[in-house]
Structures are given as C-alpha cells and as structure tokens.
C-alpha cells in the first residue's frame, strides 16, 4: 500500500536526521503525506510548494539554474524544501543547526522522487 510506503520513507528520514516534521507534497501544493505534530499540514504543504516554485521563478529570471533547496531560517526553526523528482517535493521542519542535515534530507528527497516515478 502506498500510504505505508510514504510513512516508511518519512520514518526513515526521521530516524536519520534531527527533524521535527516532514511532508511529501505535490509540486503544485497538495499534501500527499505528512508526519507532523501540532500544525495544519495542508497549509504548510501549500506554502512549501509556493516557496519552491517562487524560488524557481526567481532563479529562472537570473538564469541561476534549478534551485537545489529552499531554506527558511527562522528564530526557532528552519524550513527546508527540496524537490523530490519532477512531481513532488519534500518539506522538512527542523531546529537542528548542523548543516549535515541537508545531505540527509536531499538523499531522502531523491529516494521519494525515485519511489514516485517507479509508481507511474
């Protein structure tokens, strides 16, 4: 079952990195699966997709290539949005300060992207 696969993918990510929550979101802003606490994941999903797509448009304007990730650095937490294949993205909430968390997130996003394209 697909839902279990998403659960496993996000569970793996949580086990490997110091994160507080994560969502798999379609590129156009619809929630596919979430593992979060005390937030409204649909809103978070829509806004994460807006972050990534706005970044893409801005990057395109300066011919900067495809953005690898969008990081929103808040006082208490960070949001990290990474593309996961052509149709989805991975949005992560963390308060970790070490940058090695990016590697883990990017790897996980790749796995999710591969998984989604296998399904097609």
């Amino acid at each position: 079952m697909k839902k279990d696969d998403y659960k496993r993918l996000l569970g793996d990510l949580e086990a490997e990195a110091d994160i507080e929550g994560s969502c798999i979101v379609s590129r156009d802003g619809m929630l596919i699966h979430s593992k979060t606490k005390d937030i409204h994941p649909e809103t978070f999903a829509a806004m994460s997709a807006t972050l990534l797509s706005s970044a893409e448009v801005a990057m395109d304007e300066i011919k900067g290539g495809v953005p690898k990730k969008v990081v929103v650095d808040g006082k208490n937490k960070k949001i990290i949005v990474v593309g996961a294949g052509p149709n989805a993205l991975l949005a992560v909430i963390t308060s970790a300060n070490k940058s090695d968390v990016y590697d883990v997130i990017e790897k996980s996003a790749k796995k999710i992207g591969d998984f989604l394209s296998e399904k097609k």
Binding site: M1, K2, K3, S26, R27, D28, G29, M30, L31, I32, H40, E42, T43, A46, M47, A49, T50, S53, S54, E56, V57, N87, A88, L116
Partner: protein, 386 residues
C-alpha cells in the same frame, strides 16, 4: 424518504426508496470502508430507526466510531444494535439483541424479525459487514438468507445497507450478488497521489444514475465529503479574490503585504457536503508564473473580475487562457458599486457567451456560496463527462 446523507449521491439516487437494498462494494485496502455507519447516523438524525448489525468486531466499535465523528450515542433511542460478535468469541454482552449462532444466517434472520415485530416505524438496517457474515455462514447460504430478509423488509418500510469488502469471491457468488441487490455502489481508492476515494454507481434499479461517479474523502470529525482537491481563484489585481475566498472558507491563510496578495493563499471550504481546497493566486501580472506552477491540476477555476473595470477584461481572459479544459465560473464582483456591469454584459464583452457568471458582493458575502455551489456541481459534472 431514506437518504444516504451524502448530498450529491442522494441527488443521483433520489434517496433510497423503502424496501430497497444497497450494497457498498468496497475494494480491499480502502481505509475508511464503513460507509454504512454514516448512512445509519443520517437516518438516526432524521428520526428513523437505525438497526446496526455488527459481526466483524465487538459492538464497542459503534461507540468508537460515533466518538470519532462527535456524534452523541446517548442521543439516539432509535438506534438498535444487533450483536453478531459476542457469541462468536464467548464474550458477555449488554446488548438486547444478540445473534446466538453467528455461523447460521437463520439466526440473523430470527433476530431481525423479532426487532421488526417489536418496533413500529420505518428505518434502515446496516450490515457491517456482509463479507464477514458470508465467511461465517457460507456464501450461498448467506445470500439466500439476505434474499429472504430483503423480501420481508420490503413490506415493512425498511431499507437495507450492506458493507461488503470485495475479496476475490467465486464468479457465481459475485453474479448472484449482482442480481439480488437493488443497488450496488463500488468504492475504490483513486490511484494518483492525493488520497481520496471514488464511488461508482454500478447498479441501481430505481433511478437512471447508473454509471455516475463521485470523489470523496472521510474527514474526522466532519464526516463524508465530496472532495475537490483544488479550485484556483484567479483574476486581475484588486478584483476581490482574497475577499471572495475569505467569505467562503472556514480556514484561510492570506498572504498579504500593503493590501495586495503577494503569494499563494490557501483556504478550505466546507459547504453542503462538499469539501474543497482553494488556492488563491495573486492578480498582478508579475505573479503570473505562479499560475502554471500552482494552478495546474485545478479541478475548477473562479475568475474574479471587478465589474466596474471593463478595461481589465482582456487581461482576465488571458489569465483564463492558462487553464485548458477546466470548468470555470466568472465571478462578477463588486456589484454594489455604481457602474457595475451586469453578468451578461461582462460575458458579452469578454466574448465568452457560454460561460457561467455569478454576480457577487464579496465584501457582504452576497452570491459567493451560490458561486461555490455552481462550481462544485460543475466539477462533479465534469468528472462524469470524462
């Protein structure tokens, strides 16, 4: 009239006439498979009798499900639970009506007849689940019993609902099922990534809605909703998109700076059994690249225009051009202002004579729900035309 409580479905079916039987034929793996209990609740609310036959798990399941949807169990003295489970595992039960021999369909028949004799009034019987009873009592024997039960019920003002998980049964069993139920609705998961389910009216012998489809999702605690994953709201700058979304959505996240929308807004509408997620896209031309990123895969589009600004209609039409083959409705907003053009005039000037247009005053919430309902209906029609 007995209703399912699922709005569009009731419109398609015209309710469930007395004496008719309806089978929810659910594909294994559908997470929320207990549609019968929602129909039960609806009819309890309407003051009819609701008989709930539990065979698959302890009758405590009823408390649990009622709790999940914030339905108050104690409120309904018209609810009768038939316990087909406790005898099976030898557990004590506080239920008045107990199936003593759960391996014998006649034992079910006996209890049901006893209930029907004891009460006066109409209502529905929900079996949760038929597949389980078939496994217990034998497939063919169960179906013969069900035929007898349906025969008797038809004279007593009761309709019957069967939850059925469609494990691979023998051809001959499936064939017989097709014959004995007055209506069969298939329930499947939709294969793409956004979780939702589909109902498909496979058979109905009292209305002409065979072949109709609905996409739905069960929300807790709200219940069953016809589900629309995305409706976009677009239109020129300052036409009233944000105000429009705010006036129909019960949850809304504006993204505004200096009074203008500067990012994608998101809201949820829950109205007349529909649940829709609304994405608002800012109107200033420089934000248009967001249209094809976020607007794609919309099931419907609201084009909001300021009815006093015909000079913007060309631009409005250009925005609309970004959406191909998606149902849209023109929202002719700001009708309270002097010089506001009427809906027909706007269609005419935009060269969209066949379009649907709704006149609104978003600031006062006038016309907005009418627009939403038209849109929701259009989206269901569109799904059924595909």
């Amino acid at each position: 009239m007995i209703l399912t409580g699922i709005p569009k479905l009731d419109e398609f079916l015209n309710g469930i006439p007395e004496g008719k039987s309806l089978l929810f034929h659910v594909e294994p793996g559908v997470e929320e498979s207990n549609i019968g209990i929602h129909v039960l609740h609806k009819n309890l609310e309407n003051g009819l009798y609701g008989i709930y036959v539990v065979s698959e798990s302890s009758p405590k399941i009823v408390d649990k499900v009622f709790n999940e949807f914030n339905w108050n169990l104690d409120k309904y003295d018209n609810l009768i639970i038939v316990d087909g489970y406790s005898s099976l595992i030898g557990a004590p039960t506080d239920k008045k009506y107990v199936v003593e021999e759960p391996h014998d369909i006649e034992s079910y028949e006996d209890v049901l007849m006893e209930i029907i004799e004891n009460i006066k009034g109409k209502g529905i019987i929900v079996f949760d689940s038929l597949s389980n009873i078939m496994d217990m009592c034998g497939e063919k024997k169960t179906l013969s019993g069900i035929e007898r039960i349906n025969d008797i019920l038809s004279g007593e003002g009761f309709s019957s609902i069967y939850n059925f998980i469609a494990w691979p049964y023998k051809e001959s069993v499936m064939y017989r099922m097709k014959r004995i139920f007055n209506a069969i609705i298939e329930v499947n998961n939709i294969g793409d990534t956004i979780m939702r389910q589909r109902m498909f009216i496979k058979k109905v012998d009292w209305s002409d809605s065979e072949g109709k489809k609905l996409e739905f999702k069960i929300f807790k605690p709200e219940g069953i909703r016809i589900y629309i994953p995305k409706i976009s709201v677009v239109g020129p700058f300052y036409s009233g998109k944000t105000t429009f979304i705010k006036s129909i959505a019960h949850k809304f996240t504006p993204v505004e700076r200096l009074g203008a929308t500067v990012g994608v807004e998101y809201g949820i509408v829950d109205y007349k059994g529909y649940r829709a997620e609304i994405f608002g896209i800012p109107g200033q031309e420089r934000f248009l690249p967001l249209l094809n990123k976020i607007g794609v895969s919309s099931k419907g589009v609201f084009l909001v225009v300021d009815s006093t600004k015909p000079e913007e209609f060309d631009f409005a039409k250009k925005i609309l051009g970004e959406f191909k083959n998606i149902p849209y409705i023109i929202v002719a907003n700001k009708q309270d202002l002097p010089n506001a053009l009427k809906g027909d005039e706007i269609k005419e000037r935009m060269g969209l004579k066949d379009a649907t247009v709704v006149e609104t005053i978003a600031t006062e919430g006038k016309g907005v729900y009418e627009a939403f309902e038209l849109m929701a209906n259009r989206i269901v029609e569109d799904l059924n035309a595909r």
